[in-house]
Symmetry: C2
Subunit: 192 residues, 2 copies
């Protein structure tokens, strides 16, 4: 059974417990971080809805339309995009339970989409959560693509820790990836 | 029955017939225009999938997951966003069959979302198709919001033609709204 998180769901009990957050889907940690950014007028970044192909819809009297046959579709773009400091932001968030992230975990469509965004002047990257190590890394799509082209089948946490940038995790926001973006993509005075 | 257009569907017979295009859902005209922009490396702008809340999923043996109960959800953001000339673009596309566009046709969530994007330095607007007149207009979200705040219930085509900017329609792309964006938001030499 696929677990479906409603968009914008408030879950303060999860928010306030770091222990619990480790068991939370990484995607949901990013969603809560985005909520924090939006509420504080820092950035406007959202998860796109999962693409679903609807085949059959019923219209029961006195109630809302009910979809009775539908299928998940492959996403042609990434899960997340939005605006931060006037710049277009686009990324995919992934997690792995080992010390390796296999390249096949991201579709070629998504990589090409991110490369296109990069070419057009947007900020395009991957955020990868190594659950075993409780470490999150941000890796620019160009670096990721170059590595993939080199012929390897996966990227190790030790390699990503050199090539990418570690993302601070904590309470609010849970995954502070915009701070990492400041360091990697913006000319900011060092804040640590 | 709701008509569902698959993303990225190619329909050249529609593309090449302006007569037919008038009967096409406006949304689909925008989607085809975005395909044109993407193919020609002009912009990377996509329609977000319709948000659907999945309640029940079945996993028949030897076949893909089948969703057997789901419901349409209200969108918290807009239908379209992406990148053009390095800038974040966000808009909602609407159509009307009269000479008036009623403000209630756009949700307050969507207006607030567009105002937030505008505040953060993005390009945020509405594209409205007046089907009876076969005319398309682009209206900046600030202008739209000011009008709405003035107490009117709708905006007429004559008012929008003064306050907004007419969008050229033709063959490729069907709805050339990026040319309008050039005129409204970028310092470009006059191209007409």
């Amino acid at each position: 059974m696929k677990i479906n998180y409603a968009n914008g769901v408030k879950n303060d009990s999860i928010k306030t417990s770091k222990i619990k957050s480790l068991g939370m889907l990484f995607e949901n940690q990013i969603n809560l971080s985005n909520e924090y950014y939006l509420t504080n007028n820092i950035a406007n970044i959202h998860k796109k809805p999962t693409p679903i192909q609807v085949v059959k819809v019923e219209y029961p009297k006195r109630s809302r339309a009910k979809i009775t046959e539908a299928y998940y579709r492959t996403a042609s773009t990434t899960d997340y995009n939005g605006i931060y400091k006037g710049k277009y932001i686009d990324f995919e968030a992934k997690e792995t339970n080992s010390n390796l992230f296999p390249f096949k975990n991201i579709s070629i469509h998504q990589i090409n989409h991110l490369l296109s965004v990069n070419k057009m002047g947007g900020i395009a990257f991957l955020i990868i959560f190594f659950r075993l190590f409780n470490e999150v890394y941000l890796l620019d799509i160009k670096d990721f693509s170059n590595l993939k082209d080199s012929g390897d089948k996966s990227i190790s946490i030790s390699k990503i820790s050199k090539l990418g940038k570690k993302v601070e995790t904590g309470y609010s926001p849970l995954v502070n990836y915009l701070k990492t973006i400041d360091n990697v993509y913006f000319d900011t005075k060092k804040e640590g």
